[in-house]
């Protein structure tokens, strides 16, 4: 089970951050070639990311590269650098339709064949940043077997909706739509960046909301938010204890050839067992909640 609670954004043009970000231990590191890089540094960032991807220190962390849109002069070159550099995942910005993903998928296939990279090894994720993207979320989420998740990107979305970031009301429908689309497609869902990095209380409030909604995790712009996020997603000791008892009961039932089992008078079925496994995975990754 791959945990994707935290996806840390790094500006692709910052050599120091690219060289050291692994120490913060996010679940995924996202090298950004899009909005965080000025137009005149796009070429430099592309090469920095291409080489950083090949650093041994990133072998144990999922690497994601946010490319520019393929319709820009930068996007196709970014994609070459990311796929040839060995990125685990390509993040497509401003995804409005399944066709955007199909176009990306075709280009990734071409580059994998040309570079000798294992076919199918480059995964994709789509960032939804507009009303059109939200409306088409389900078809986007089901558009490619390479998709590992879809992400809601808040800033562009609220601009498109002619509103602004606030208490979350402005994201209510989009969060629900993106999350349901991801779950219907069997892929992960990522929530928006929380940009007020000094507001720990506000950040944790938002994390509590999106965790209860069912999001896998969140895009982050500051390493300080990683530990807060991981701790909030960590199960309590009581939850871990219950998960262990569920797994033990399920294993015993399997040995006895029983289909349906009960624990403390409550029926235990496959979804509950899967949830228990997820709880133990999170506990193994980050311990229990402090």
């Amino acid at each position: 089970m791959t945990l994707r609670r935290s996806m840390l954004f790094l500006p692709g043009s910052n050599a120091a951050m690219l060289s050291t970000a692994f120490v913060y231990k996010p679940d995924s590191i996202m090298f950004d070639l899009e909005d965080a890089v000025s137009l005149r540094e796009k070429d430099a960032a592309r090469l920095l990311v291409f080489h950083a991807l090949q650093l041994p220190v990133y072998r144990d962390i999922e690497t994601v590269v946010r490319i520019n849109q393929l319709s820009t002069p930068f996007g196709p070159k970014d994609l070459e650098a990311a796929v040839r550099g060995g990125a685990d995942v390509i993040r497509l910005p401003k995804t409005d339709s399944a066709e955007d993903v199909h176009q990306l998928e075709a280009e990734v296939e071409r580059i994998e064949r040309a570079s000798g990279r294992e076919f199918g090894s480059t995964k994709l994720m789509a960032a939804i940043e507009s009303a059109s993207g939200v409306v088409n979320a389900l078809s986007i989420a089901k558009s490619s077997p390479r998709l590992i998740g879809i992400a809601l990107a808040g800033f562009d979305y609220v601009m498109d909706m002619q509103t602004e970031r606030g208490d979350g009301t402005e994201l209510f429908y989009a969060r629900c739509a993106v999350l349901h689309a991801a779950r219907a497609a069997g892929i992960d869902a990522f929530d928006v960046v929380y940009s007020d990095v000094n507001n720990e209380e506000g950040f944790l409030k938002e994390v509590d909301l999106i965790k209860r909604m069912g999001f896998n995790g969140k895009s982050l712009i500051n390493p300080r938010q990683i530990e807060l996020l991981h701790n909030a997603y960590a199960p309590t000791e009581e939850e871990v204890d219950y998960a262990r008892r569920v797994i033990a009961a399920a294993e015993q039932a399997e040995r006895q050839g029983l289909g349906v089992i009960a624990l403390n008078g409550k029926m235990i079925d496959a979804p509950i067992v899967n949830h228990a496994k997820r709880v133990l995975s999170r506990a193994q990754a980050s311990g229990t909640r402090k």
Partner: protein, 98 residues
Amino acid sequence: MKIVKEALAGTLESSDLMVKVAPASDGTLDIVINSEVIRQFGAQIEKVVRDTLGKLDVTEGLVVIEDKGALDCAICARLQTAVLRGAECQDLDWSVLS
């Protein structure tokens, strides 16, 4: 690859480097390396610089490196960027950039 104009890449921030390339006036390749860690890593930095220039087939020009403790991958990337800018090269040959 022939350097046809002056070009810069990088920054002077810690863990980065600034690279300047310029056309050669006399057909030679001159490399100047200034680094805060020249005593410990001077030879390794020069090796990365010469290997990178070799792959790009840069045989003449002036290359000035102001290193602030960058990793090899950053040295390679910044030097490639400066050379590609100095050579006005838009088409990337990934086999020589690896």
